[in-house]
């Protein structure tokens, strides 16, 4: 008998509201219907009523976590239309802020993922380690989020010279902690049992569904906008793109963990360059924006973000299209959730990093009898602990 389980749309620990309707037969998910747009704010339309220089402030509010990636893609789109290069110093400052953002976003996800599978130690650890990254961002930009660093033609603020040793020290500390964390994830039998072979999205499906970022790279689909469409400093910096093979939740976690090391590598190189360059311009003056169109892409923590702008020669964009990576990635759930169990569905949907978990309130409706019952938070925690205990017994044989 097929039952429907509604999950969402609003949820206390969510970053964003989404609604998943799981069609389940026993434990197996046989179909899924997803609804997004619960907090549609019409930012594309708002942006068409803002001047070119005001738009970065608007688009960084698209996402509180990627509040550097969206303005970055937008300014690149305008710079693509204007065909200008930004000063070298600004390029490295952009890379530093953007990579710090990736670090804090990946750490945030790892913590949440730990929480979703009932492993709250990981949650506490990672969020503790994430704090220094946010502190550095605050010292550099003035804010923990919404940095307002990007500006057409360059950046808005200089990175103060006296901050550079602090950033280096934070990075040194973070490398050690990230190593420990990666070890804890890779060696843990419970995490292996809970995430390996779950929600597989292979290379072929990644391509068909247009998966992006860590979701695609975990499945062996080797794309990274930083390397593939190099912007600014990324063409001059040496870093590796982390690619796994299986495309399950475990690989998605590993890709993100290892990417943290690459981000640290990028920030260190950019800091070296910044020190070597010495004081200089951080912004080019731009004149009028001519009619035309431009595409800006940047690899946000969750995948490639694309901004398309069209100008008719006025002081505002005539059309501004924003495509966030989750728009493509959430659609992949259509493939990866089906066939897995209900218990895994929350984890799989969370693994693409919309940070969605279904594990706090679940309402169940029997379609045939119309009977409905709601599980409380306590019920779900108990169920999750029982399952963890079961897995532990299975793995250790005790």
């Amino acid at each position: 008998m097929v039952k429907k389980i509604p999950i969402g749309p609003f949820h206390p620990i969510l970053e964003e509201p989404e609604f998943f309707e799981l069609h389940v037969d026993g434990e197996r998910v046989v179909d899924i219907d997803m609804t997004i747009g619960w907090s549609h704010r019409g930012i594309e339309l708002l942006s068409e009523h803002k001047t070119w220089d005001q738009v970065p402030f608007l688009v960084e509010r698209v996402c509180g976590i990627c509040s550097c990636s969206h303005p970055y893609a937008y300014v690149k789109a305008v710079e693509d239309l204007l065909q200008i290069e930004v000063p070298e110093r600004a390029q490295y400052i952009r890379a530093i802020v953007a990579e710090l953002e990736r670090l804090h976003s990946h750490l945030l996800w790892t913590g949440l993922a730990g929480h979703f599978i009932g492993y709250n130690t990981v949650f506490m650890w990672t969020w503790k380690y994430r704090e220094p990254v946010l502190d550095i961002l605050e010292a550099v930009t003035g804010n923990r989020n919404h940095y307002a660093m990007m500006r057409i033609g360059g950046v808005r603020r200089e990175i103060p010279v006296e901050e550079i040793p602090n950033i280096r020290k934070m990075l040194d500390d973070l490398v050690e902690k990230n190593k420990m964390l990666t070890g804890a994830i890779v060696d843990d039998p419970v995490i292996h049992a809970r995430t390996e072979g779950v929600g597989i999205l292979d290379k072929k499906m990644c391509r068909l569904y247009g998966a992006l970022g860590p979701t695609a790279r975990a499945g062996g689909y080797n794309i990274d906008a930083r390397r593939d469409h190099p912007i600014d400093a990324y063409g001059k910096i040496d870093f590796d793109v982390i690619v796994c093979e299986n495309g399950d939740v475990y690989d998605k976690a590993v890709v993100r963990q290892l990417e943290n090391f690459e981000s640290i590598k990028i920030i260190r190189q950019a800091l070296d360059k910044l020190e070597a360059l010495g004081p200089g311009d951080i912004c080019t003056e731009i004149g009028e924006v001519p009619p035309g169109e431009g595409i800006g892409v940047y690899e946000a923590p969750r995948g490639e973000v694309l901004h398309y702008i069209r100008s008719n020669g006025g002081n505002m964009p005539m059309r501004h299209k924003i495509r966030a990576p989750s728009f493509n990635n959430i659609l992949t759930n259509e493939y990866s959730v089906v066939g897995d169990t209900v218990a895994d569905a929350g984890l799989i949907t969370a693994a693409v990093d919309p940070c969605y978990s279904c594990t706090e309130r679940v309402g169940r409706i029997d379609r045939n009898s119309g009977e409905r019952w709601i599980m409380s938070e306590g019920d779900l925690i108990r169920m999750s602990q029982e399952k963890t205990e079961e897995i532990r017994k299975m793995m250790t044989g005790k």
């Binding site: 997004i36 391509r207 469409h229 398309y308 495509r323 659609l331």
Partner: protein, 173 residues
Amino acid sequence: MEREEVKKRIAEKFGDRVKIDQPSEKRVYIYAEKESWLDLATFLFNDLDARFDTGVGIDDRGGVEVLMFFPYDKEHYFVTIKTYAEKPYPELDSISNVIPGAKWIEREIFEMFEVRFKGHPDLRPVLRSDTRPEDFYPQKRENKDDHEMSRIKNDGIDRYNEVTGKPPEGQNP
């Protein structure tokens, strides 16, 4: 696949039915009539091995211009295909049967611009709010032109004048 190779193969297969333009090294634009739109997208995705990224609709009063982006990652450039669906009934062939990843973006373009994608498996609005009238398409030019800015807040005071720069009535500026 190299840029010149892609341009050559498209020109060979489609001949006069497409127009190819290259404004910069990293951008190739291909304009297709809506009859050959689906063939072009299929050819790019299946035969020329492009990745599908996303789409955009742009309303210019006479119709809706629809763009789809096909990046070539190894060669660092974007191919953008364009077509035009005339009003009053903008209609295009759906590419989501070939590329499942295009499902949502087609639904979004339908929802925002009323472009009907023929053959789409499930053309429901994707972002809609429950309170929006069914025949209201927010990004259509007609709706934008008619739209009067309303700034009535919870306190019941109309703030339109504040937005437009006029001093509010009955109060000392």
